[in-house]
Subunit: 221 residues, 2 copies
């Protein structure tokens, strides 16, 4: 790593204490921190075990849910349009294309620590040929999630200039673009919202419009 | 809630299916989702129990660590200046003022679900009189964290115009400003980084400068 070119901060290596009293105190902090790190690691490990246990219960339920959802027209596009943050990230062309999205599936690796994958399935549609696109996220050696694989780019059906632009891997807006883009999973707001919010509890969004209308009516009576 | 003024989206309530087949499928999704929600809740509850168990182990360690850290000059300001994101959020005046910060303490409520508090202690200093400032975050009925209390505003010692501006509750930049500001805890990047990153593992930042220098040396040999 090269020496930083930024303006020097007031506190730097030179300011770390070197007197015996401070060094003894620092040793103490190190020792306690080592014990604390062990506790942090044990807690993280137990939480992983809880998640593994419950993922085993969730898997058959998600499969059962997916079968019903795939037959309900516009299920996922409706949840996305009713999700306050995901909706904002959708580009104009996405709404139409997303009516063909029949399935979202998030599958954590069995140990959950090594990563997960997100699969999006589409019915036959006039935009592109892909029946499914999968984004696979793998934990790297530093313990960060990295995007390790996208199954493949979108192969367009409609060979118009517009469709080519929308489905180009370098397109920089909206869901179809996100689907093919290599976003750092730690900063991937759309991906994280789909994985941790939309996928586990879609009904909160599918019915968002109805619920807020009903609240209005109650307030008005 | 008033009707939205935003441009209407393509999919709205009117687009939800009303035919018998779709409604039967939706009922099925509802039923499975209810089972799933129960699993989600049970998993969340078990994770809370894990955290409660480990917090009991952590508390005496944090107290022991705090006693040593309070005697090491510039400990917390050094961790902050070495933290890549927190450092960026510091204003010019913060570095000097933060040399007086002797203790950070994050205390989760016993049940961890009802909230937590963050206490910042200062030694006698020429800037302000407060010995400590506490930000208390409480979980509201909707299950969101809300900032429920800041112990009190900073009472300046130096009554210069500059100090008044820096310590004014409406100041909009840096740590001292953050300390007194009512930021939504869900969006509070500084608060969340202190709570979940700097406080549990400060040594990763205290020594960041040394570590990266050592790496440089190894690479150069």
């Amino acid at each position: 790593m090269p020496a930083t070119e930024e303006p020097p901060m007031k506190k730097m290596r030179g300011d770390l204490p070197t007197d015996d009293a401070s060094l003894a105190l620092l040793d103490k902090v190190y020792d306690v921190q080592k014990e604390l790190d062990e506790v942090h690691n044990k807690a993280a490990e137990e939480i992983v075990q809880v998640e593994i246990k419950f993922n085993k219960l969730r898997t058959p339920m998600y499969e059962k849910r997916a079968k019903a959802i795939a037959q309900i027209p516009d299920f996922w596009v409706t949840t996305m349009l009713n999700h306050p943050i995901i909706a904002e990230s959708l580009a104009e062309h996405d709404t139409e294309i997303l009516t063909n999205l029949t399935s979202i599936d998030v599958v954590e690796n069995e140990d959950i620590k090594s990563g997960f994958s997100m699969e999006f399935k589409f019915k036959k549609n006039p935009y592109f040929k892909n029946e499914s696109i999968t984004k696979k996220v793998t934990m790297n050696e530093e313990g960060d999630n990295i995007l390790s694989e996208i199954s493949h780019s979108i192969r367009t059906v409609r060979r118009t200039k517009d469709m080519k632009e929308i489905c180009a891997p370098e397109a920089d807006e909206g869901f179809v673009s996100w689907l093919q883009s290599e976003v750092d999973p730690e900063m991937d707001d759309i991906g994280n919202l789909i994985k941790d919010d939309l996928f586990p509890t879609p009904m909160e969004y599918y019915n968002a419009q109805i619920d807020s209308d009903e609240e209005d009516e109650e307030e008005c009576e």
